[in-house]
């Protein structure tokens, strides 16, 4: 009898061991965050919601999918969306890899400063970057066009640049996501053990060949993870295509979904919006499968082992200043120009191009108007609270989820990781709507209308990125380190806090910073969930931009957002992510 009781007790102890609880609790949380909105999205796509909501008693139908897959506009949408997303990520990834390599693996001067400056565009919301570039490269009155026409004596009244084109949208979007990719890759590049490179060069390979044949292939999980994540993110991007594409009649899926949920007249068609969203979801699923297959070969890419190492920097020689100039060019286009235009616009009483006459009109009236704007102060407080809460909660949850996926030894350990990535496929505009409907439909959790619904929505939204990031970092830590700790008598907690966590810290802090800054600039979900009580700065900027005619006020608020996020980024880089020499 005692043996039977002991056996039962042993089985319960095994079933509910601390290790499993540590795995199961975050798994349960992630499942709760991701599944209900997904379920509502799928349900909505099969409902005929013309003039009604999907949760009301409306007929079931396949009409939404028929429209999505067979209508005349579908082919154009598909072509535009894929071209836009692929080209954006290819361009951005190429530039980002070069930048990260120069900053983390070469002796380019002022690397710390360059890293801080490269991250500045991260602080510019996509919406504001697009507005800035519309001022710079609008075909008729854009600053660059006016200057170029004057410099080259062109007679044409428009051009040569046209930001309201697919190429223009790709260009601005690529500039916008380069810092994200840099942050995603910097940890992996920094932790790379140079012994493999030294071995390659000792065998006679050139530095260039070593980078191409040894370094980059070993960094493939991180590179692929970044590429795939940002491809899905580009498909979801709404702000830049909406500002630059709608006027030119260039539609992508995200703008189409927005227009379906925010029509000029009548009520939204959530069913059709969900139908388009499901298409994006399917595209992302293909990306997930590719990503998962890459992760399955993880053990081949472990480069942080039990042996000690010191990061090595490649000497650029006479090329270092050219490299530095290249970084400068990216900064000029990605940060300096949009920033200057924003500051200029914020100091003008009404929108106008730079001129001597406009110089005489410089004023601080827009900043004074901000102080009179009732919701501005509340928005600042809400923004700071939301950013800190989202970043912290997201990184804790994603670290546990990533660890569970990589190290979990039981069936289903990778399901939460899978769910976080699946969630990436849900467009932000529809995800915001789905979250709203979930918490309206189940008022037992009374967070609707508060900042907590925004915190939960953004945590869910950024889980994917942070889990990819932490997954890439966990993959690089070989099991032998943990095994050595256990063999030496260290408890699991000692192993975690004294060995694993310090090794993961660069990625953790990079991720925290990324999430905090992205939260500051995120507008789509904040707008969908905005009520008078939970307005944040990005949503306020969006609201004012939508009203139109207040570019000065919008620019002034943008400058405030940028100042806050630049401070956060600089502080993070200097204090949280010091460069290893």
């Amino acid at each position: 009898m005692d043996a039977a009781v002991n056996l039962t007790r042993f089985k319960w102890t095994q079933a509910f061991s601390a290790e499993k609880l540590i795995y199961l609790i975050p798994g349960a949380i992630v499942t709760y965050l991701v599944l209900p909105p997904l379920a509502l999205l799928i349900m909505s796509s099969f409902r005929k919601t013309q003039d009604q909501l999907p949760i009301e008693a409306v007929p079931w139908t396949f009409a939404n999918y028929l429209h999505v897959f067979t209508s005349a506009e579908s082919y154009v949408l598909f072509q535009n969306s894929l071209t836009y997303a692929l080209c954006t990520v290819v361009v951005a990834s190429t530039v980002a890899v070069v930048l990260v390599w120069l900053i983390e693996r070469s002796d380019m001067p002022h690397g710390d400063l360059c890293m801080s400056l490269v991250l500045i565009p991260l602080a510019l919301p996509g919406l504001i970057t697009a507005i800035g570039w519309s001022f710079l490269a609008s075909p008729r009155v854009g600053v660059f066009n006016v200057v170029l026409r004057s410099l080259f004596g062109m007679d044409a009244a428009i051009g040569p640049l046209n930001i309201y084109s697919l190429a223009g949208i790709i260009f601005v979007s690529a500039l916008s996501i380069i810092p994200s990719i840099v942050l995603m890759l910097s940890g992996a590049f920094r932790n790379f053990d140079p012994a493999l490179e030294e071995a390659s060069e000792a065998s006679g390979a050139s530095a260039l060949r070593t980078q191409r044949s040894v370094t980059l292939p070993l960094l493939r999980p991180a590179l692929m993870g970044a590429f795939i994540y940002n491809l899905a993110d580009a498909l979801d991007n709404f702000q830049i295509p909406s500002v630059l594409g709608l006027n030119a009649g260039i539609h992508v899926y995200s703008t189409k979904i927005y227009l379906a949920t925010n029509p000029l007249s009548g009520l939204p068609d959530y069913g059709l919006a969900s139908g388009y969203s499901m298409l994006l979801f399917l595209l992302a699923m293909g990306l997930i499968i590719a990503h998962q297959r890459t992760m399955q070969r993880q053990h081949n890419f472990a480069v942080v082992t039990g042996k000690g190492y010191r990061p090595r920097r490649v000497a650029l020689g006479k090329w270092k200043y050219l490299a530095f100039s290249g970084v400068g060019l990216y900064l000029f286009l990605g940060a300096v120009c949009p920033l200057l235009v924003l500051i200029w616009t914020s100091l003008q009483p009404f929108f106008s191009m730079p001129s001597a006459e406009a110089l005489a009109r410089l004023t601080l009236s827009n900043y004074r108007a901000l102080l009179d704007l009732g919701q501005f102060k509340a928005a600042i407080t809400n923004t700071l609270v939301v950013s800190l809460a989202v970043a912290t909660a997201t990184m804790v949850l994603s670290s546990l989820t990533a660890w569970m996926a990589v190290r979990g030894r039981f069936r289903g350990s990778s399901i939460p990781d899978f769910l976080t990535f699946v969630n990436t496929a849900v467009p932000s505009v529809v995800f915001g709507l789905a979250i709203m409907l979930v918490y309206l439909s189940f008022p037992i959790v009374r967070i609707y209308g508060t900042i907590w619904i925004i915190i939960i929505a953004l945590c869910t939204r950024y889980l994917s990125f942070s889990t990819r990031l932490m997954g890439g970092a966990v993959v690089q830590i070989h099991k032998e380190l943990e095994e050595a700790s256990e063999a030496s008598g260290g408890s699991p907690w000692v192993t975690v806090f004294r060995i694993t966590l310090p090794l993961l810290m660069p990625a953790l802090l990079s991720g925290w910073l990324w999430v905090a800054v992205h939260t500051l600039r995120e507008a789509t979900i904040a707008v969908m969930l905005m009520t008078p009580a939970n307005v944040v700065l990005s949503a306020l900027v969006w609201e004012k931009f939508q009203q139109g005619g207040e570019h000065g006020l919008v620019a002034a608020m943008s400058v405030v957002i940028i100042s806050i996020s630049m401070t956060l980024t600089f502080f993070g880089r200097k204090v949280l992510l010091p460069r290893q020499n």
């Binding site: 909501l53 000029l264 007249s265 106008s352 009520t531 307005v535 009203q547």
Partner: protein, 349 residues
């Protein structure tokens, strides 16, 4: 004639009239004071107005006057358009979690919400001591808040007065190709041409306008920005924005072509809102002499003789078409036309 009797009667009449006007000016205050205690308990009213900054209730000055007269009630302002706000209100109403108390919108946009039973209909006598002076629509239950005009304006640096179009049809002149700008709010006026001109002429005009490849955006005031920068030579601008821009020195001016469409906007209180009494008080105050003065000063208000906006339009000689006169069927046609035009112009590059 007994002049003493005439003088005595005159004095008595003057006393009665003066006393009456004094009592009527006390009446609106007395009326609103009855609403104040319940409103004060609620402490706030969440007002949404797409115009921005609460201009529909007098802007910053108006809100300060309200708060001064009724301390303890704050006005929280949001500025979503009805296309964004109303779907949310529908969803929130289903869950019993409304977060907005009231909006300001025109009848075609409000009608679907009334049909869904989401609007709190009001008794005019609870809001004003002079209900006969105001227009209430939808079975006399929703007060008209203001007239709103979005008409055409031109860039004064790029277009001379001699080149200005004299009629809507002149906009189809090839010289304006690619130089016109319209937006979600500005296209509102064109929808009424369908009622004035009939189907054939209207769609011929719209198709011609589409062929002009206008710069088009769904954002409310985007056309204003384009006219100011010179990217567009002519575009739609609200009269309120035009006034503010001209004060700041922007090179824009009103384009005097007829008719100028004057739409009405209503105060739209939502049913089961979180602060119903404060909402009622705010609407009552907006209909009071103090509120009307604040709205007129802010550039909002009614386009009637004696108001600033009327004084601006009168000298131009334009004909005003008031949307108040539309029948319910015409309202539906206007709303339908918006959707059709948005679809047609969505294809414009």
């Amino acid at each position: 004639m007994n002049y003493r009797l005439i003088i005595l009667v005159s004095v008595v009449l003057a006393f009665i009239c003066g006393g009456a006007s004094d009592s009527s000016s006390q009446n609106w205050e007395t009326l609103l004071q009855k609403l104040y205690p319940a409103a004060k308990k609620e402490g706030a009213v969440h007002f949404n107005g797409a115009g921005g900054g609460g201009i529909e209730i007098g802007g910053k000055d108006g809100m300060e006057k309200f708060s001064k007269r009724f301390p303890g009630i704050s006005i929280v302002v949001s500025g979503l358009s009805s296309s964004k706000l109303y779907p949310r209100v529908i969803a929130e109403a289903r869950a019993g979690s409304l977060t907005v108390d009231m909006d300001v919108e025109d009848p075609p946009a409000v009608k679907p919400m009334i049909d869904r039973g989401l609007i709190a209909m009001m008794d005019p006598k609870e809001l004003t001591d002079k209900p006969e002076h105001f227009r209430f629509v939808f079975d006399n239950k929703l007060p008209v808040s203001r007239h709103q005009i979005t008409h055409l304006a031109y860039n004064t640096k790029a277009v001379s007065k001699n080149d200005l179009p004299k009629s809507y049809e002149d906009l189809l002149n090839p010289k304006w190709k690619g130089r016109l700008a319209f937006d979600g709010r500005g296209m509102w006026g064109f929808t009424h041409l369908r009622i004035l001109w009939g189907e054939d002429k209207f769609w011929k005009f719209i198709n011609g306008l589409t062929a002009q490849q206008p710069l088009w955006s769904t954002r409310c005031n985007s056309a204003t920005d384009k006219v100011v920068t010179g990217e567009a030579l002519i575009g739609c601008v609200s009269m309120t924005s035009l006034d503010e821009l001209k004060k700041k020195g922007a090179p824009v001016e009103f384009l005097p072509i007829s008719p100028v469409f004057v739409r009405i906007e209503l105060f739209v209180p939502f049913k089961n809102a979180p602060h119903p009494n404060a909402t009622k008080l705010l609407i009552g105050w907006a209909l009071s002499p103090e509120g009307i003065e604040a709205m007129n000063k802010a550039g909002s208000g009614m386009v009637v003789p004696g108001t600033p906006i009327y004084d601006v339009l009168k000298p131009t000689g334009v004909e005003l078409f008031f949307a108040d006169r539309l029948t319910p069927e015409q309202l539906d046609l206007v709303q339908k036309t918006r959707g059709e035009m948005a679809k047609a112009w969505g294809a414009v590059k």
